[in-house]
Symmetry: D2
Subunit: 243 residues, 4 copies
C-alpha cells in the first residue's frame, strides 16, 4: 500500500532534518529537494532512521530556479505519487548588511529564493491538491516577515514577500480543502550554523530544538479543516519575545 | 491513579461543551465552572459521554466576581487535585451598540468578564504551575482582540484587554514552563446561539464546528515547550478572512 | 470674537504643557483639566506664555471618576464654548510589577484611567461635534497599546483598551466629520519624571522632546478630512524601534 | 536663490499630479520622473499652475530598470541640485488574478516596480541626505502592504516588500536625520483610473481626494525630527476601514 508523500524543499542539517524524521516516523514517504544530494544526506539518514520502511528519495533542484523546482516536483509525483504535504523550508543567507549595501543581485536572489521558489513549489502541487480536496503547504518563515531590519534587510524583504504569498494562497485555496500555513519562528534554532554564529555565547537553552519545532509543524498539519491556523508562531518557552 | 485535571471557566453549550468532551476523552478529569449547574449540564453530559471514567464536577462561580473564581479554583484543587489545564472560555454579550450607547456599567461589566475574571482564574493556578514547572492556561478570544468596532465596541474593548493580559502572562511565566495561549477565533462558531442570530442565513458550512475548534486547542496543548505558539488563530477552511 | 477651544485632560508638566502652549500659540483658548490646579499650573503658564491673548482656564476633575469628567466638560462648554479639540493625555503609573503582583484595585484603576475616563471625555464632546460636523478627539497612547509586557502589564492592559476605544469611535463617527486619533508614542519623553527614572542614564538625545511631539499632534490636527490618520506613530529620529 | 528640490518617481495623473502641485506651491522645484514626458505632462502643468516660479522638469526613467532610475536622479542632482524630498509613487497594475494565475514574469515585474525601483531611487539620494543630515524619502503604499489577497496577490507581494524596505531604511538611517515614511492609503483615490474601474458605482464621496492626500504627505514632511511618523495611514473620513 502506498504511503502518503511529504516533499521538503530545503532539507539541510537543521529543521529540514527534523521534519524529514518526523514525517517519516509518522508513516510518510519523504522526497528531499536540495541543490546537491550531499546537502540532504543528513535528512535522508534521519528519515530512514525514524522509519526503516519509509521510501526516502533525493531530487535535485535549485530553489532560485523555478523551472528546476517544477521539474523536481513533477518527477516526484511520477515516481512516488501525489504530494500530500509540501514543506518549503529554504533559508537565505544571514549575512548582515546595512540597507545601502544591498546589491541588485542580492535583492534578486533573496526574492527568487523566498518568493518565486515558494510559488514555484506551491503551484507544482496545488492544482492536484485542490482536485483531491486535501493537502498541506507549509512555509518556514520568521519574525523577519513582520518587521524591517537595519542590519538584515534582505532577510526581511524576502520573508515579507513569502508571508504575502502564503496569505494570498490561503485566502484563495483554503476553501478547496488545502491547508496553507506560514510558520513564524520567533527564535533561533539550535542547529549547527547557529552554534557557529553564537560562538562563545552559544546556549542551547536559549535556542529552539528543531525536533520540537518539527513536532509543532506536525501538530499543525493534524488540525481539522474546521479549525485551521494559517499563521503559526513558534518560540521556545525560554524565549524573550522580540515582537 | 489520579487523572490530570482540566478546569473550564465558562462551560456552556457551545465550545465549552466540546472542550469538556475532548479533554475528558483524552483522560482528564473535568472541573466545570459556571454560574449555575444547569448552565454546564450539557458540558457535563458531553464529558461523561466521552469518557465514562472521567471525574466530572461542577463548581459555581461568577466570572465577573473574581473572589468567586478564586474560591472555586481553590475548592477544585482541594477536591480534585492540581489543575493541569485551565481554559478561560467565557463569552460576553454580542448585543450590538454604537460606542456612544455604551454605559459605564457596560464598560465595567465587560472588563470584569474578559480581563479581571481571566486574571483571577490565572492567578489561582499559576503559582502552583510555576512550582511544578508545567501547566497550560488557554484563553478563548476572537479577532475582536485586534481591531475596534463601530457596532460591537464592548466586545473589542474586552478582548483587547484579554490579549494584553495573555501576552503579559506568557512573557512573564513561559520561562517557568507554563504554556499560556490566546486563541483568536476568526470565525463564528456553529453553536445554538449563532443559529438563532443567523436565522434564515444560517449555513453550517460557514461556521466553525466547535468540535474541530476543541481539537485545535488540544493540538496546541500538546506542543512541546521548545516550540510553543502563544497566539493561535483559528478559522474554518471555508472562512473568508476578515482581517 | 470667540476663539476655538482646546480641552486637555491630563495637562501636567510634560507633554500636556507642550500641547497647551502649542494650541494656545495657534489661537486656541485652553481648558486644562486636572485633579488639582497646582498640577496644571505649568501648562497654564506655558499656554499664557505662548499667547497672552488666549483664554486659559483650569477645571478640576479626576479622570478615574467619569462623572467629574462629564461635569468639567459641561462646565467648559457653558463657560468657554463648544470644544473643538479634546486631548486625552492622562498617564498611568509606570510602576513596574510582574503580572501576578497586580491587584484587583490596580486593574480597576488603570481601566478607569485609560478607558473609562477617555470614554467619559469623548462622550462629553462627541454629540456636539457630530452635530456641527467637525471636531477632533486625540488620545495620547504608547507602543504598550500593541504588546503585552512581563514587567508593565497594567500599562499594556490600559493602553490596549484605549486603542480599542479609539478605533471603535473612529470607525463609528469619522463619517460625521469628527477626527479621532490615537497617538502611539514609541519612545520615552524628555520630561521631568523620565529624567528621574533614567538617573545617570539620562540622555536627552534618546528621548522625544515634548514640544516636537506637540508639533506632530498639531500637524495631525491639520489633516484634511479627506486624508486622515487615525493611528499615528511617533518616535524621535534617534529612536531604536522597539516594535 | 536655489529652491529646494522635490523629485517624484511616478508622477502621473492622480496623486503624483497633486503632490507636484503641493510641493511646487510650497516653494519646491519639481523633478518629474516617468517613462514618457507625456505621462507626466499633467503633473508638470499642475506644478507650474501652483507656482509659476517653480522650476519643473521632466526626466525619463523606467522604475523597473534601476539603472535608469539611478541615471535620472544623478542627472537631476547635476541639473537642479541635491534632492531634498524624494517621493516614490509608482503604482502597479490592479489587474485581478488568482494566485495560481501569476506568471514568473508578473512576479518579477511587480518586484522590480515596487521594491527594486524604490531601492534604486532611495540609494540614489540617501548618501547625500545622510551627509547633509536631512532629507525625506516618502513611499506611496497601501493597506495591501499588510495582508495578502485572493484576488490581487501581486499587489500584496509588491507592497509587502516595499514596506519591508521602508522600515529597514528608516531603522538604519533615521538617526542620520533622514525621514523615511511609508504612506498606507487605506482607500481608493478619486483619480481617472478609479472612475473607470468603478463605472456606475463611482461615488466621489467614498474616494480620497488626491489633493487631500498630498496635503497629508506635506504635513508629514513638516514633522520635526524629534517626533516622526515612519508609517502613516490615510483614509477619508467616509471610509469604512478594511483592516
Amino acid at each position: 500500500m502506498p504511503q502518503p508523500v511529504c516533499a521538503i524543499v530545503g532539507a539541510g542539517e537543521g529543521l529540514g532534518c527534523s521534519l524529514a524524521a518526523k514525517f517519516a516516523g509518522e508513516g510518510f514517504d519523504i522526497a528531499l529537494i536540495s541543490r546537491s544530494e550531499k546537502g540532504s544526506s543528513a535528512a535522508a539518514a534521519a528519515a530512514a532512521g525514524a522509519n526503516a520502511g519509509a521510501n526516502v528519495k533525493f531530487f535535485a533542484a535549485d530553489a532560485t530556479q523555478p523551472d528546476t523546482i517544477e521539474q523536481a516536483l513533477a518527477t516526484i509525483v511520477g515516481d512516488m505519487g501525489d504530494v500530500d504535504v509540501l514543506i518549503y523550508n529554504v533559508r537565505g543567507s544571514f549575512t548582515a548588511c546595512e540597507p545601502l549595501e544591498m546589491t541588485y543581485a542580492d535583492l534578486d536572489g533573496i526574492y527568487r529564493l523566498e518568493v518565486v521558489g515558494a510559488f514555484a513549489a506551491a503551484k507544482s502541487v496545488l492544482p492536484a491538491m485542490r482536485e483531491r480536496g486535501r493537502g498541506s503547504v507549509l512555509f518556514s518563515s520568521a519574525t523577519a516577515a513582520l518587521r524591517g531590519s537595519a542590519t538584515h534587510p534582505l532577510y526581511a524583504i524576502g520573508k515579507f514577500g513569502l508571508r504575502a504569498l502564503s496569505q494570498s494562497l490561503a485566502k484563495a485555496y483554503a476553501k478547496d480543502g488545502v491547508h496553507i500555513a506560514h510558520f513564524r519562528l520567533d527564535c533561533d534554532l539550535d542547529v549547527p550554523i547557529m552554534r557557529e554564529l553564537y560562538g562563545d555565547q552559544y546556549d542551547s537553552e536559549k535556542l529552539a530544538d528543531p525536533n520540537d519545532v518539527a513536532e509543532t509543524y506536525w501538530l499543525t498539519y493534524q488540525q481539522p479543516r474546521g479549525a485551521w491556523s494559517n499563521e503559526v508562531e513558534i518560540r521556545p518557552h525560554t524565549e524573550t519575545w522580540t515582537y
